[in-house]
Symmetry: C2
Subunit: 153 residues, 2 copies
């Protein structure tokens, strides 16, 4: 912070760079997913379900970083198109565990290949050690940002 009242120097701000990186990643993902007729949120939902079958709408929303309302309309679409199934009524409480259909699994496979290629490209030029370091740094930032939120609630 060498400047007094000149605001935040965007060229040196980690926050700005984080936003820039995230934007570049999202754009790159959109590019490879578009030919498959799939959006990033769309893909995120399927990938989450593949790894943790039975996740509820709200849990999927948190995992994809959208509101549960947004995830709900997406799930309804995916359900209508036959990629996902949910029981008609909850076995316990209101939670409706969602699962991939075989069709959904097939659709996801192609998308995963595409997304993996983007991630590989993103990490090109970084050593394993650098990647591990970046991983820890991002985790540290996330943890620090969330500490205060919990206090507030």
């Amino acid at each position: 912070m060498s400047q007094k009242g000149a605001g935040i120097d965007l060229d040196k701000s980690l926050g700005y760079l984080l936003k820039e990186a995230s934007s570049a990643l999202r754009t790159a993902m959109e590019e490879v997913l578009r030919p498959l007729g799939m959006s990033v949120t769309h893909y995120s939902c399927l990938e989450l379900l593949a790894q943790r079958p039975g996740l509820s709408n709200s849990e999927l929303a948190r995992g994809a970083f959208v509101t549960r309302q947004t995830m709900n309309v997406l799930l309804q679409t995916l359900e209508r198109e036959g990629y996902v199934t949910r029981p008609a009524e909850a076995a316990v409480g209101k939670v409706l565990p969602a699962r991939l259909t075989p069709s959904g699994r097939r659709s996801l496979e192609k998308a995963t290949v595409a997304v993996r290629s983007v991630e590989v490209r993103m990490l090109a030029g970084m050593t394993e050690a650098e990647q591990a370091h970046a991983f820890r740094s991002l985790q540290s930032m996330i943890g620090s940002l969330r500490e205060r939120d919990e206090d507030a609630s």
Copy 2:
């Protein structure tokens, strides 16, 4: 990549973590900017103009990672509310250089303090060296992601 066809392990994916960090940062910024009646994009625009007066609509859009159409409606709002001024017609070409008004500068000052506190909180627990390392890693990722885009165009 130790797994065969099980998709991308979200718990170990730098891409997922990047999205998570960016989401946490955006949420934290929204929290501190809301009391000031300002959105993140709103703030980004003002901050960009403070540091690089005379930026055009399209340049601002690129700097804030939105389309120029989106930035255009935002600029029209900011202009109507007296935070920004643009000449009625272009001196050369179609480019209309935008500038902050004194009112816009005052509004930005408060927002900058709030946003800076978020960035400070995010970096708490990281040494200068770690921050520098993270900075280089993010720059590397951005560069790698963009290389291919340029080839495609």
